[in-house]
């Protein structure tokens, strides 16, 4: 089976509002950045392109098709799209390369979710008969999950505040962060409740923007002559639509995906987790069985800014960056989709040397 190399990654600043920019204008700078990293011209120089986005977020039907205008699709290219975070576009591209149908792939994810009311928009991804008509928003669902976690004694509000404080501190070193700074746990706990038991600070700040990545075979990475990280494992699992059926205090899908991706086969120096709510980082760290020697979200994670449809890909990109820079040798990236961590993807990245 083909080994997969990650060779380039770029992410935009996490903007509260991207202003007048459209999808193409958000994507292009990130595409240009990853082309420059490997020394190629445009999407003609890779074998496959796959993107992740969700038309509901910006409120424009087939908005993702406009993204093709950013690629240079003359002559026509092989292109695909997932109505999901671009981490799943990465998964599709990995399959494509492993099957021998491509040697290289460009991936990108983008969203301009500031156009709508995101928690309400996301309520429409729920069960259309029983839940969507009730307009149950994503923050409320996350709050139900947090309550279960707290009441079962698996975490405290202080634990959640510690996640936020650490993430914001880590985000001080993240040039793309929307939110960063030193804030104490006691200061966070003194804040008002938002959707109990969540405080505003427990909810990752949502941002507009885009991220892009290039992956390829090891042979192609050598041909391009660029530093790369090996994607040694990747897997994703989904849980039932019915929230009442799930153990919301655990992430069984993450556990299974982690095992299949081979997380336990070596030390995990860094874990970049897509936890849109503070209590979810606690659930995910346990599901991944991370020890004290793992640095969780050194970038600040999505508490630095939650780029809808790109944050999952960015988690992979953050681990790649540290491996390519020689800072670490092995790390884990995680992406999530759906309410209360319904669908989870786990990737293991390793140094090539």
């Amino acid at each position: 089976m083909q080994q997969i190399a990650i060779v380039a990654f770029s992410q935009s600043d996490c903007l509260a509002r991207a202003g007048a920019a459209n999808e193409v204008e958000l994507i292009m700078p990130q595409l240009q950045a990853v082309y420059a990293q490997v020394g190629i011209d445009n999407a003609q120089d890779v074998d496959f392109v796959c993107s992740g986005s969700c038309d509901y977020l910006q409120g424009a039907a087939f908005a993702f098709v406009a993204g093709v205008d950013a690629l240079g699709a003359v002559p026509p290219i092989k292109e695909s799209h997932v109505e999901m975070d671009a981490a799943w576009a990465l998964y599709e591209a990995v399959l494509k390369i492993r099957m021998g149908h491509a040697d290289s792939a460009l991936l990108y994810g983008f969203a301009k979710s500031s156009s709508g009311e995101l928690p309400i928009v996301l309520s429409q991804q729920l069960d259309p008969y029983y839940l969507a008509p009730l307009w149950v928003d994503t923050v409320s669902l996350a709050a139900l999950q947090a309550r279960l976690l707290l009441e079962s004694g698996l975490a405290s509000e202080r634990d959640m505040a510690e996640v936020v404080a650490r993430s914001r501190r880590n985000a001080l070193d993240n040039p793309h962060a929307r939110l960063s700074g030193s804030v104490s746990v006691d200061e966070l706990l003194a804040e008002d409740l938002f959707v109990s038991p969540l405080r505003r600070a427990d909810c990752a700040p949502v941002a507009d923007g885009a991220a892009a990545m290039i992956i390829c075979t090891v042979e192609k990475a050598r041909e391009w002559g660029v530093p790369y990280a090996l994607l040694s494992g990747i897997d994703h699992r989904i849980e039932t639509h019915n929230l009442g059926m799930r153990d919301l205090t655990d992430s069984v899908s993450t556990r299974l995906a982690a095992r299949a991706a081979g997380v336990e086969d070596g030390p995990v120096e860094v874990a970049e987790l897509y936890a849109p709510f503070s209590h979810q980082e606690i659930i995910l760290s346990r599901a991944l069985e991370l020890g004290d020697d793992t640095r969780v979200n050194p970038s600040g994670g999505v508490f630095a800014g939650n780029l809808m449809m790109a944050s999952g890909l960015s988690r992979v990109g953050e681990v790649f960056r540290r491996i390519a820079a020689g800072e670490i040798r092995r790390g884990v990236a995680h992406a999530t989709s759906g309410p209360c961590l319904q669908h989870n993807l786990v990737a293991v990245l390793e140094s090539a040397s």
Binding site: A20, A21, V24, D69, G72, E117, Y129, P133
Partner: protein, 171 residues
């Protein structure tokens, strides 16, 4: 178990979502200019093609288009069709002509209406010019131009369509 007498054929789940939609920097610039009666395109820094209306990128090269190019309201018919069915909620009555037009100085066509013409005489290569609404009715909209109408200039040979300079047929 329910039999056919209980069959539910539909449920009502109205969805209301509000958006503050933005067209993009390049379209916003185009719409701002057309409100002033100016047709403004963008040139690709790589292949030099001029796009109007612009989207902020050259879809052929995959690079941003930032150079603004002011274009005249004269152009050439690249293709056309005579439509015999009405546009819903539109005062234009069939049969009417929808055409792919290339403005002088532009390389890519856009679609608009053709009127004040004999439908049977419309042809590829025909020269046309915009008929604007009265200035006081101009908005941020493509229909500041009501339609294009034929002008008295010799046809453009097919190979030359989309290759005329901004100065037009005589340029």
């Amino acid at each position: 178990m329910a039999d056919t007498a209980d069959t539910i054929t539909g449920i009502e789940c109205p969805v209301y979502l509000q958006y503050h939609f933005t067209a993009g920097r390049a379209p916003a610039r185009f719409l701002t200019r057309i409100k002033e009666g100016v047709l403004s395109g963008q040139r690709c820094p790589r292949c030099s093609n001029v796009y109007i209306p612009p989207r902020g990128s050259c879809p052929a090269c995959g690079v941003p288009t930032e150079e603004e190019v002011e274009l005249p309201d004269k152009g050439t018919v690249q293709s056309f069709t005579v439509v015999a069915i009405p546009i819903p909620n539109n005062p234009i009555k069939p049969p009417f002509v929808v055409a792919n037009l290339v403005l002088d100085g532009a390389n890519i066509s856009f679609i608009h209406l053709l009127s004040e013409c004999e439908n049977s005489e419309v042809r590829i290569g025909q020269r046309v010019q915009a008929v604007w609404k009265p200035r006081e009715e101009w908005g941020y909209a493509m229909d500041n131009i009501r339609y294009f109408r034929p002008i008295d200039e010799p046809d453009v040979p097919v190979a030359q369509i989309g290759k005329l300079p901004v100065t037009g047929r005589e340029g």
